[in-house]
């Protein structure tokens, strides 16, 4: 007997989607905002439902669909992030008169995909979630049909995404062939029952490793880790800035959840093998991200490389394999998402020569035209660098601390050095904002009340790192106790 109450959050989202799609057809264009508010309402209602049924949802013991505390915390986080992203998106779309309800609806399909990814306890379900997410992302990237860049980016992402899905499916089929199951739990039991150290050359181990590499590569593609990062700069550059905001934030959370669930639990028996792979991925990502970002002139491309570098840091945390390191990685992910929402949200509110901001030089002299905005942007960028007492400092510190505690001194030195190199391109933006001549006045699409509050919240989170620290601690410990 299936108890549908456990998947009620997903049901809320799906039914809201079906209702709003139909409703939107009949709304005249001046009333389209109603559908926007309905979507926001259904997201918030979903958060409320999960929050108020926290313990009830946790009692679910399905083999297929996990609604434990760990998943729910991430779902709430994603839903709230999406509410903020939608706020910025609607402001942006309305300002440029390209508002379409479909944009939001398609994104909510992606949200559904992410919720399925987070909860899935089965490889096939995981695959379905990833595909649902990817399909909706392909469409929102191509949203700006008039732009060549936009269509090009969408096609590139689509084709590369198809290759990566192929990898994933190939890996899954190998796993199924070896273990006879797609369930996380059964795969886990199978792997732990193998005596890895004694029969390292056995067919099972070689096959599992083969499958693991394929799955890992496919997920790295979704995550944007080098050398599977090539799509990121083009897609970030090509899409409208609010799509970039969307792409660079919540899908990363969902992929992070998959990473941690697969690596830390399902494949924990193969830690010896995957930790090296993850280290290679992270070193390449940090190197490529930080170094290429230096020579970028487009701010979206620069932030795309910065994303790659940040993903590298998250992977660095995952590679350690201790509970403290998972906690640090989760802290870093949350920090990264919160900061990235701030920076893209803020940039999406800027208008330069009646276009959205594209180049770093567009920001020159921002301080003389809008000192408050310049200050907010500076705070966000300093947080990215990791200047205490801002949030980014703690995130980097936790990762490096986890590395040091596992006696991985060379990697921690590498991380610190790369942080220094990485600080250059953020500082350059600050230099442009504060010390360069004002060219053309930058306009803002709406008042800065929300952004201001958000950034002040960001600063407070940095002053009280325990809030996110405890949250990470709580979710990670629940993941391992479940």
């Amino acid at each position: 007997m299936i108890n549908y109450l456990y998947i009620f959050p997903e049901i809320i989202i799906t039914s809201a989607l079906c209702f709003i799609i139909v409703l939107d057809l009949f709304l005249p264009s001046r009333l389209k905002y109603i559908s926007y508010y309905l979507i926001q309402f259904s997201l918030i209602f979903c958060v409320y439902y999960i929050y108020s049924h926290f313990n009830y949802l946790d009692s679910n013991v399905s083999e297929l669909y996990n609604t434990g505390i760990f998943s729910n915390i991430f779902k709430i986080f994603i839903l709230l992030s999406l509410v903020i992203i939608f706020y910025y998106t609607s402001v942006f779309l309305n300002y440029f008169n390209i508002y379409k309800t479909e944009y939001f609806l398609i994104t909510v399909f992606g949200l559904l995909g992410m919720m399925i990814m987070i909860s899935s306890e089965n490889l096939l379900l995981l695959y379905l979630g990833i595909e649902l997410l990817s399909l909706s992302l392909y469409s929102v990237i191509a949203f700006n049909r008039n732009s060549l860049f936009s269509s090009e980016a969408a096609v590139k992402y689509y084709i590369l995404g198809a290759i990566s899905s192929g990898f994933l499916l190939f890996g899954i089929s190998l796993i199924y062939g070896l273990t006879g199951s797609l369930s996380f739990n059964e795969i886990f039991i199978y792997i732990t029952s193998l005596n890895i150290s004694s029969n390292i050359d056995s067919v099972e181990i070689i096959g599992l490793l083969f499958a693991l590499i394929f799955i890992l590569i496919s997920l790295s593609f979704k995550f944007g880790a080098a050398p599977f990062h090539m799509w990121i700069p083009d897609v970030y550059h090509g899409s409208i800035i609010t799509t970039t905001l969307l792409l660079s934030t919540i899908p990363k959370i969902a992929v992070f959840v998959i990473f941690i669930k697969l690596l830390a639990i399902v494949f924990s028996g193969l830690f010896l093998f995957w930790s090296d792979m993850v280290i290679i991925l992270s070193i390449l990502s940090i190197l490529i991200g930080n170094i290429i970002a230096i020579s970028q002139t487009n701010i979206k491309r620069m932030l795309a490389y910065s994303t790659i570098a940040n993903i590298g840091f998250i992977l660095l945390g995952l590679s350690v394999g201790s509970v403290i390191a998972y906690k640090a990685a989760m802290f870093y992910t949350l920090t990264y998402v919160i900061t990235t929402i701030a920076v893209f949200g803020l940039l999406s509110q800027l208008v330069y020569k009646s276009k959205s901001v594209e180049n770093i030089s567009d920001l020159s002299g921002l301080n003389s035209s809008n000192p408050f905005l310049a200050f907010l942007l500076m705070v966000i960028l300093l947080s990215y660098i990791g200047i205490p007492p801002l949030l980014g400092f703690h995130a980097k510190l936790f990762i490096i601390q986890a590395l040091v505690e596992s006696n991985n001194i060379p990697l921690s030195i590498f991380a610190v050095l790369m942080t220094v190199i990485g600080s250059f391109y953020y500082l350059r933006v600050i230099k442009v904002i504060y010390f360069d001549e004002l060219k053309d006045e930058l306009l803002i699409t709406s008042k800065l009340y929300f952004t201001g509050t958000y950034v002040i919240g960001l600063m407070l989170l940095g002053l009280f790192p325990d809030i996110l620290g405890q949250l990470s601690q709580y979710s990670i410990s629940n993941l391992f106790n479940a």
Binding site: I159, I213, P227, F228, M230, I291, I294, S295, L463
Partner: protein
């Protein structure tokens, strides 16, 4: 107590932030914001002080917030509220408030009027942050913040080259001390695993016999920590040999000299040692060192004041000398006496500076006292208040300065430390001499500057009221807190010298009245009389006696004018030779190795790599797909030894 203290600390900070972000604000509005922010702190401190004095004497420690906790170390911000804290916060906020009020007039018309108040508000916050701190990290943060505000305020008129070099000097000298303090704090953290004062004090018995290995020598731990921390204290409190920044700091606006360089910041070192009295009790030879430094500062820096003619520099040397008295009391382990002298000194010295400011303002920014004269009739209120502050500084019996300073002198009298005793008594003579010198040259004699008396008051009310208000504690606070507070166990819970204090009271003081009567026959009183008589002949009767004396002892005069060589050390020797050395290091190691090879080399290399690596991003889809396949193959090859 918790919320009151929080408001006391953070109200000035909020004032500074409001001023900082308020773009369009008139001078009037800025001064209102700044003054009310301090005013709130002042009233609350006053209230807490009164409630502590009237018996509510408790000690409590609060945790405000844990910034960061890692593997057993806690970095926290907290409050330690006890009698010492309350006294200090009373001094700081009280003087700060009246200095702020005074500054409204003094700084009127300055183009950076608002900036001045941002700095002073921020300074007051930083100082309170140190005072209320319950751990060493917070102490260090506050220490740096007051250093920063002092730097900004000394160089407030940054167009004046002398101000810029003075603030640089203050900053660099304080850096030397800060390194000592920081090393001490780090040593505390690694040996006791805690930065909290109370935890550290609890661990002192365990650490008592431990030693540390320093370059092969085994050094006792606690004296070493005490020494390192005292280096910080010596720099901040301008003790020999780190004193020479303070006279130059007079380049800042005069209210700043009153607030920071006389009453509050320079006493932070004294406060810290008193706060850490359990540590200093166990630090043996370091106490002797502190005593020697204190006594020599008290005597020798007072002598330098004799040859100075700039009114602010004289008072600055006097401040150093008085800080020397406090340090001497610390060295003798009578921490409470040091704090008591700190309390009275803060009032009369701030008043002296404010009077000096009033004089300078009247004399159109002329600071040379030999060019002044006859201001008695023109500025009667400044005259009277300066008189009160002056005799308090000299230590004329019944004044505030007397009760605190004679206590310190008496410590050495009764402990038969004759050499120190006579040095300090000689210091009294010198103090009297230079105080009378200012008094005679400025207020008596002929009106050389031809300043006309105006019909109205000498200055506006906002400038006069602080003088009058500060004159009251300068005259009376010493006596009024003597029996009932100082010797009534007020500092029992915060400073460890209470048994010594009780003994001292029973054996040598008995009561304030007898202390007062007794002092009329004491050596220091005779010294004051002698000093006044001498200054009458030297400075009032203009018969060339002073020139004769100085011609007789040219060496002494030159030594004093040169401040025992510290002037040439800090203005000539260090700058030239260090510059030469620095130039060599700069050219050889910095430019050629670090800059060109490491910094620019790395930067160029990374820039080069970056410009090449970006070409990987060709934009061609098949390149991207190819990279993915290559990546896959790479992984397969690495993990399979095919």
């Amino acid at each position: 107590m918790y919320w009151q203290s929080m408001i006391i600390i953070f109200s000035p900070l909020i004032g500074a932030i409001i001023l900082l972000f308020k773009n369009k604000s008139t001078d009037f509005l800025s001064s209102i914001i700044a003054n009310s922010a301090i005013g709130i702190s002042m009233l609350l401190s006053l209230w807490l002080f009164i409630s502590y004095v009237s018996g509510h004497n408790i000690s409590e420690s609060h945790l405000i917030y844990t910034w960061y906790a890692t593997s057993g170390y806690f970095f926290e911000i907290g409050l330690l509220i006890d009698s010492l804290t309350i006294v200090m916060s009373f001094i700081v906020t009280f003087i700060s408030f009246f200095v702020h009020m005074y500054s409204i007039t003094y700084m009127k018309g300055d183009p950076s009027f608002k900036r001045f108040f941002i700095y002073t508000n921020f300074f007051t916050f930083s100082m309170l942050f140190i005072i209320f701190s319950n751990n060493f990290l917070q102490l260090f943060i506050g220490w740096e913040l007051v250093g920063l505000s002092s730097y900004l305020l000394i160089g407030f008129w940054y167009n004046k080259p002398s101000a810029v070099s003075a603030n640089l000097k203050a900053f660099v000298v304080n850096r030397v001390g800060d390194i000592g303090l920081l090393l001490g704090v780090i040593l505390i953290l690694i040996t006791s695993n805690s930065l909290n004062y109370i935890d550290f004090f609890d661990k002192l018995p365990l650490l008592r016999d431990s030693t540390i290995n320093l370059l092969g020598y085994h050094i006792e731990l606690l004296p070493f920590i005490a020494l390192l921390l005292f280096i910080g204290a010596a720099a901040k409190s301008a003790q020999i040999p780190l004193h020479f920044w303070l006279p130059d700091s007079m380049e800042g606006p005069t209210p700043i000299s009153a607030l920071i360089h006389a009453a509050t910041m320079v006493t932070a070192g004294i406060f810290m040692v008193a706060r850490l009295s359990p540590l200093y009790d166990l630090s043996g030879y370091v106490l002797d060192l502190i005593l020697v430094i204190g006594v020599s500062t008290a005597l020798f820096m007072g002598m330098v004041a004799l040859v100075q003619n700039d009114i602010k520099r004289i008072i600055a040397y006097s401040t150093i000398s008085q800080l020397g008295y406090m340090t001497a009391a610390l060295g003798a382990s009578y921490y409470s006496f040091a704090i008591y002298h700190l309390l009275t000194h803060a009032f009369f010295k701030a008043l002296l500076f404010l009077c000096a400011g009033s004089i300078i303002l009247k004399c159109h920014h002329e600071q040379d006292i030999t060019k002044m004269g006859g201001l008695r009739k023109i500025m009667p209120i400044t005259f009277i208040t300066f008189f009160i502050a002056g005799i308090s500084l000299m230590g004329v019996p019944s004044m505030s300065g007397f009760f605190s300073k004679d206590l310190i002198i008496d410590i050495f009298k009764y402990s038969n430390n004759t050499f120190v005793y006579y040095s300090l008594v000689l210091g009294v003579f010198i103090t009297t001499l230079y105080t009378s010198k200012i008094f005679i040259k400025v207020f008596l004699g002929n009106n050389q500057l031809k300043i006309k008396k105006k019909l109205d008051l000498e200055h506006s009310d906002a400038l006069i009221i602080p003088l009058l208000v500060l004159a009251i504690p300068s005259a009376f606070i010493g006596w009024s807190l003597f029996d009932g507070v100082l010797f009534n166990g007020f500092f029992d819970k915060s400073i460890t010298d209470y048994t010594r204090l009780d003994q001292f009271y029973i054996l040598h003081v008995e009561h304030s009245l007898s202390f007062f009567l007794h002092s009329l026959t004491s050596l220091s009183f005779i010294m004051i009389i002698l000093g006044i008589v001498a200054s009458y002949f030297l400075y009032y009767k203009d018969d060339g006696l002073l020139e004769k004396i100085s011609d007789k002892f040219p060496l002494l005069r030159n030594i004093l004018l040169n401040e025992y060589g510290f002037t040439s050390l800090s203005n000539t020797i260090i700058p030239t030779y260090f510059k030469r050395l620095a130039n060599i290091i700069w050219m050889k190691s910095d430019v050629s190795i670090i800059d060109n090879f490491f910094v620019n080399g790395t930067a160029n290399l990374i820039n080069f790599i970056s410009s090449k690596a970006r070409l990987m991003q060709t934009g061609y889809l098949y390149h991207y797909a190819f990279t993915m396949i290559i990546g896959l193959l790479l992984f397969l090859i690495i993990f399979y030894d095919f």
